[in-house]
């Protein structure tokens, strides 16, 4: 395994603190158990046996926003739901990330009307957009891997 090879027989590994923190953040990212519509079903598929999102340390969906650091907005966000969504986002502790899953959450999708918020980025800052209506579980997993790449490149000075 990678870590043992790096350790050798010395019992010491040198790494930049920034990299270590970012690595640990990517490997234990807890998403919030929060489904809105159709995409939530595909999100459940991504977690079940065939696609198995726990390979990325993400098997633990937390129902409480206070215990989670990734919000997957899975589905259409309506005008009635938007304030609730924002409150959930505000309750999440930093550092936190948002994935807009599906066309509705990204840009309103097929619903260009009075009821649907045209993209969840009107309400919360979005890190990764996943296209599809609904996206396949593979697409969601790709979105998460993309987010991991982004997190690995984050700098402390940007957080401050």
């Amino acid at each position: 395994m990678g870590v043992e090879q790096k350790l050798g027989n010395m019992g010491v590994v040198t790494v930049k603190l920034e990299e270590l923190v970012n690595w640990s953040r990517t490997n234990a990212m807890w998403p919030m158990l929060f489904g809105l519509a159709c995409c939530a079903i595909e999100m459940m598929s991504a977690q079940s046996a065939n696609h198995d999102m726990s390979r990325f340390g993400m098997e633990l969906m937390r129902a409480s926003p206070r215990q989670s650091d990734l919000m997957i907005v899975a589905g259409r966000v309506t005008r009635k739901m938007a304030p609730v969504l924002r409150r959930l986002y505000d309750q999440m502790p930093d550092p936190k990330w948002v994935i807009a899953m599906g066309d509705c959450a990204s840009c309103g999708g097929v619903f260009n009307n009075y009821a649907v918020v045209q993209g969840v980025d009107e309400v919360v800052p979005v890190d990764v957009y996943v296209a599809g209506c609904p996206p396949r579980p593979e697409a969601l997993i790709h979105g998460i891997v993309t987010l991991h790449e982004k997190v690995r490149g984050e700098k402390f000075k940007d957080w401050a």
């Binding site: 939530a40 009635k80 009307n113």
Partner: protein, 409 residues
Amino acid sequence: MTQIQEVSLDEIRHLVSERAMTGETMLLNMGPQHPSTHGVLRLLLELDGETVVNCIPDIGFLHTGIEKNMESKTYQKAEVMTDRMDYMNTVGNNFTYCLAVEKLVGLDVPPRAQAIRVILAELTRIQSHLVWLGTAALDVAAMSVFLYCFREREQILDIMELVSGQRMMTTYIRPGGVWRDVPVEFEAAVRDFLKIIPKRIDEYEALLSKNPLFLDRCLGIGVISGEEAINRGLTGATLRASGPDYDLRKFAPYSGYEQYDFDVPTRTEGDVYARYLVRMEEMRQSIRIIEQAMAKLPLGPVRSNNYKFVPPPRSEIGTSMEALIHHFKLWTEGFNPPKGAVYAATESPRGELGCFLESDGGPKPYRVHFRTPSFDNLQVLPRLSQGHFVADLVAIIGSIDIVLGDIDR
């Protein structure tokens, strides 16, 4: 953006009992972000200790304006919106809408298309019940069933992808038939699925049906009598678990359901466990229907040849001027059905799914309305949950099998 409104106790006085005003009972908010409400349902609970005194559902968190949006699209293009209504029964929504359009313009559907529709609708029913079983079992703390159910569901989604190119939002059933004929691999894929699924359903039953923990959570919980269920407009498995055997596939057969031999499972207990048993049996009956439909899947065209309403095959467009004109007219203007209003209904996994279409003679529907089973089934929740514990409320919500996209549309 509207803000979350702070509501004072006075404003909800008409919803709760007098005891809540004095602080004798507690008001508790459940949802819209709650793992057990199956989506974005909000419940205002009035609790006496752990017992539910009053339960007031607050819906509309997923109101998408689908019916209104459909009025601005032509009849063919409006069909895409129906998929996203009840997202566990996507094929069934297309089916209902297409039946309504066919009734409006008087289209005949070829027998092969009818049989394909039945096969896909029944596969969708199994798929929907599998998701229901997984999540409802998860609500009463049976985790493993969820993983098994989604394993089989993937196989159904693969079949959907095989025929339509999409896993969930297929839009494969079109007015006048289906989009195109099923690929050659279709029969083998369905037969493979039919081979394994009966054993798998036995496995789920072995995990749950006699499990004492599951029985404790389900037996005698949320009981409703057959008469009251009818009076409250329940349909689907929620109704049939109380006694009445109302199933549209028997009472008003559509798309050739009268040719197939199947039973309508009923129970008389009317509790959470009875609803579970009815749905498990329904999956077995769906398998029977699919087997019969596969056995006599007729050959022939899969779309009506009335080119005023149904686009001609692509192959004809290159050689026939008429076909080109029809194609062009249909995809730019749409078709103009006669004035009038129709209602068509199918048996969705949740109950009677009806589509009301009103035409003013133009290419776009004047009014579309859906009678969605989840909406009518949800209204029984306050009645079912009274006097039960909060933990039982979770089991009851699971047992009436609501889909919020179906309620709010």
